[in-house]
């Protein structure tokens, strides 16, 4: 049924339909309305779940780790500094092969303190063994939660999933969302049956000390699952999703007007909507431009990116995060896809845009297309204010 919902509220309603047994969160900025709504649902007895209020994000992540280890479906959400405070536990959840879904409301990282949207938080945690899926709009953010539970609990995966949605733009934005029924969700997502769990009757150890004889194999197994199983399974799950809910996603990448394109932007998150809008305007003027939207950032869909961009003459990679002191993260990985390949774009330029909530306008995107010429650009900042860069300590 179509409803007019805030992004966080839509996600909370979807999570409710997924019936997690345990939800844990730390109620401080930067938190999201998602867990606020879920706490309300539990208090109202609309959701039969245990809501555990804790004293830090480190504890929130630890509680959901424990819940899944005990064989229960669990959920949490966080953002920015909160995600960083969870980091140690997030590596453990992945390393212990526990299926979990968490939303990350993408926001900037201190210092300077900034509560607004960019993607530095989850991009910085790209190496923690979590699958990362980025949403373009509120509908997709809600739908990705369903896809995420199905994915994480598959016996061939058993890796946690982070659903990334742009802070404020999607979490606080309100738009029309087609909400599924409980019957539809139950049909798509069966009750969670753990592959293994902590049980006093049949004791096992999870996450023990592992000496050099075993450690590398545990890490290798995650890498293999990521680049083989996850990349193969996501399109199958989205196909099932489409049958039940009627909305089609690729789940890895989405090509928008790229077929005959001469210039294509690669991007992820809500900015893809603004880019599509600009592409339609430029196409109406005869400019051959397109977008490759990345939904899956981890695992990185190397083959799909190669196929989509190999015949495109000029590619602009749009980063909303930095790897300070090196190339921008998404740009360097995109370039790696084409290193040593015969077929590849003549130019892969890198642009940094919209850090700390700097608004990304249609003009910002047009500027990127304008600068996407034969001259390759590395880490070119868009909408920078040079007057703010002058230093004076006198």
């Amino acid at each position: 049924m179509k409803e007019f919902l805030e992004g966080s509220k839509a996600v909370a309603e979807i999570v409710k339909l997924c019936k997690p047994g345990v939800i844990s969160a730390y109620p401080i900025t930067p938190q999201t309305h998602i867990v606020e709504e879920l706490a309300q649902m539990v208090a109202n007895r609309e959701l039969n779940s245990q809501f555990i209020n804790v004293e830090s994000e480190h504890s929130a992540a630890s509680v959901v780790l424990g819940a899944v280890a005990g064989g229960v479906r669990a959920y949490t959400a966080t953002s920015s500094q909160g995600l960083f405070y969870m980091a140690e536990v997030l590596f453990n959840i992945a390393g212990m092969r526990l299926p979990l879904v968490m939303a990350c409301a993408n926001r900037a990282i201190s210092a300077p303190i900034n509560i607004w949207n960019d993607q530095q938080d989850s991009v910085s945690l790209r190496d923690c063994g979590w699958i990362q899926l980025f949403a373009e709009d509120i509908q997709e953010a809600a739908d990705l939660h369903l896809i995420a539970y199905k994915l994480t609990e598959d016996k061939s995966i058993m890796l946690p999933v982070m659903v990334c949605m742009d802070g404020f733009i999607l979490t606080h934005g309100i738009e029309t969302v087609d909400m599924p029924s409980q019957e539809q969700v139950d049909k798509f997502l069966p009750a969670y049956k753990p592959l293994y769990k902590l049980d006093p009757e049949n004791p096992i150890t999870m996450g023990p000390l592992v000496d050099p004889v075993y450690y590398m194999e545990a890490r290798y197994a995650i890498q293999e699952t990521m680049v083989k199983n996850v990349l193969t399974l996501i399109p199958k799950i989205t196909a099932d999703f489409s049958k039940v809910f009627g909305r089609a996603y690729n789940g890895l990448v989405e090509e928008y007007r790229t077929k005959d394109a001469e210039r294509v932007i690669l991007a992820m998150g809500s900015v893809c909507g603004t880019i599509k809008e600009v592409i339609d305007e430029l196409r109406a003027k005869g400019k051959k431009v397109g977008l490759l939207k990345l939904t899956a950032y981890r695992p990185f869909p190397v083959q799909e990116i190669y196929e989509a961009l190999k015949d495109i003459p000029k590619v602009a990679v749009l980063d909303r995060a930095l790897s300070l002191g090196s190339y921008a993260p998404l740009a360097s990985e995109t370039k790696a896809v084409f290193f040593g390949k015969k077929k590849k774009p003549e130019v892969i330029s890198s642009f940094v845009v919209g850090l700390g909530g700097r608004d990304i306008t249609k003009d910002s995107i047009k500027e990127i297309f304008r600068l996407l010429t034969a001259k390759e650009r590395a880490c070119e900042f868009i909408d920078l204010k040079p007057e703010l860069l002058k230093e004076n300590y006198e």
Partner: protein
């Protein structure tokens, strides 16, 4: 596509105003996208809320720089900066008027409507929350939305006494502007 920009201070209900307005458009079969932009994250700081609405889903995620309509919830904001920047040539501004703050003269084709929304709210709600009166005024001034849909949106958002008071407030805001036209 129509774009509406709301100027307020944090805590004055601008997000609720945008959410209500968005819901009215939703009831009318349109695709609204309502969203806030916070300044400093504290009560009283200037902030904006926006509604962008189209007959198909809205994809553009930037803030609104060239609005069709502007709603000024707190007139004291007009002292500090230009609330009407980028307002379209044939745009309409709706201002919650306040003693001692002058209503600016805009260009010939732009229309400015002001109303004592806080007084209207005080009368019905008992608190100076002029948002629903301003939305009533918006319905009358722009003829974009149906007053009945606004009342329906208020019914969904509020219950009990607050619902009744806000409906009266919206109706009086609507009538105030209608009688001026």
């Amino acid at each position: 596509m129509k774009e509406i920009r709301i100027h307020a201070r944090a805590g004055q209900g601008a997000i609720t105003t945008a959410a209500l307005l968005g819901y009215v458009y939703f009831l009318e079969g349109q695709y609204p996208y309502a969203f806030p932009h916070f300044g400093a994250a504290r009560m009283g700081a200037p902030m904006n809320a926006f509604v962008r609405v189209d007959s198909k889903p809205v994809r553009l995620r930037s803030q609104i720089y060239e609005p069709d309509y502007v709603i000024v919830v707190d007139a004291t904001l007009m002292r500090g900066f230009n609330c009407f920047s980028g307002l379209k040539d044939n745009g309409i501004a709706i201002i919650n008027e306040r003693e001692g703050v002058e209503i600016p003269k805009l260009s010939v084709r732009q229309k400015v409507f002001s109303l004592p929304a806080n007084d209207i709210a005080l009368k019905h709600i008992g608190r100076p929350l002029g948002n629903t009166a301003l939305l009533g005024a918006y319905a009358a001034a722009t003829k974009e939305i149906d007053l009945q849909h606004l009342i329906e949106a208020i019914k969904k958002r509020f219950s009990g006494k607050a619902q009744e008071a806000n409906i009266k407030s919206a109706q009086e805001g609507f009538d105030f502007i209608k009688n001026k036209l």
